[in-house]
Amino acid sequence: MLSPLTQSISSRPLGLVRVIIGVAALLRSFVALRVLLEISEPEVVHIPYLDWTPSPSVPLIVLVISVWMVSSILFTAGWRVPWSGGALFLAIVSTLASDQQAYSNHLYLMAWLVLLLIIADAGAGLNLARTNRPVFRWTVLLLMLQLTVVYGFSSLTKINDEFLSGMVLAGVMRNGVLQFPETLRTPAFLSSLALAVVTLELLLAVGIWFRKARPTVFVAGLGFHIAITLLMSTTVELFIFSIEMLALYPLFLTQESLVVVWDDECDSCFDWVSRFRRFDVLKTLHVVGKSSDSNPIPAEEVERSLHLIHQGETTSGFKAVTGVLEHLVPTLWFASILRVPGISHLAERWYRWQAARRSCPVALRSPVTP
């Protein structure tokens, strides 16, 4: 029963998380620099965790932030991740420990993510050396659990009278990039919105583990993070928090191959498949031409539309395209919206229209490889 924990899996999704978290860490270093420099000013109170801790001096701040910036760049590139990640982790922790005003939940989360990425050997994939060593499933599982812990804890702590009354939302949804409509600032609406937030966070925490619910969760999660970033006042912090959380989503995608069966005598199919290959960062696509011996679909069906075979299910047309887009970067975060009734119907009609106008046969070409 426990053997899946030590099963080896592809390191590419993990590498993608490392790249995104590295970029988020670089962005966050500028916020840390501002906060630490403010703390070092004589007018500003120093609030240490331990009374004997000295106030951070400017040279020390410059040193810590320089280490932070350089290590985050190296970490992003996948250069000696135990060392670059270790230096980044220490820079973040020393910032957190310097003063209570330097704390924030998303920075605490960033420290955890960097630590878990080091443990998981996140430099194994998507690195400068272009190597791709497998990693162990349990190390990736820790990062997946981190997502559920954050959303779940956040949701459960909001189940209190104050939050559910809508009062907290009324307070925090001010001075954002987008103004919350004043006409909706009523106790009834804010209270309903508060309940929706609690429910949504719980859905994100739990639903992401279920394959059937995952497309909905991805779109709901993206919408949730865009909304909090634009509507709430702490925009920069929430933007970084949103990047941290959304970075973890690809870890939940299946690592089982997606078999794309295409008409290799068709020009427009060639373009589609070439684009797919270009954005297949996670390397989950297995492309099979109509004329290939390993094609399991009748040729006349493949001539009509693209087919996708994944986890025992075969889909065709725009449904197949959607299935593929849900595993590509960056479309994996929003492609599920194409499953919404109405949108999927229109997209399918557009696909059929495109397919009818295709030019065949094309000179024998192979789809581009990245």
């Binding site: 906060v35 109170v45 704390y103 497998p134 990693v135 820790l142 812990v149 804890f153 939050f163």
Partner: protein
């Protein structure tokens, strides 16, 4: 792949430690889910009003703008424990600092 990661025992211990630190410590420490505190994930779960602090000088009482004396006046900081003493040190001609629930003679 590094050898220690291959061990199921290491995997189980790591998962147990992770969940303990992330869940049990914040819950056990604060006794409930509701409080806005550090090292948990209670994001925007409650509303903690900032203290209203004033300084008294020879020419009267003046309200304190927290952002002028704090880098980040977070709700999880016990502001009245630290800020009044600091104000006594740096505000010229200050005689005392007052807030809703107390005061400090400088």
């Amino acid at each position: 792949m590094t050898g220690w990661r291959q061990s199921r025992a290491v995997a189980l211990v790591a998962i147990a430690v992770f969940l303990t630190v992330q869940l049990i410590i914040p819950i056990g420490r604060y006794g409930n889910f509701e409080v806005t505190q550090r090292f948990g994930w209670q994001m925007f779960a409650g509303f903690v009003p900032a203290p209203q602090i004033t300084v008294v000088t020879s020419d009267g009482e003046h309200p304190v703008v927290l952002d002028d004396y704090m880098a980040w006046p977070r709700a999880d900081i016990d502001i009245v424990r630290y800020l009044p003493a600091h104000l006594c040190e740096i505000v010229p001609d200050v005689q005392s600092v007052r807030w809703e629930t107390g005061s400090l003679e400088c």
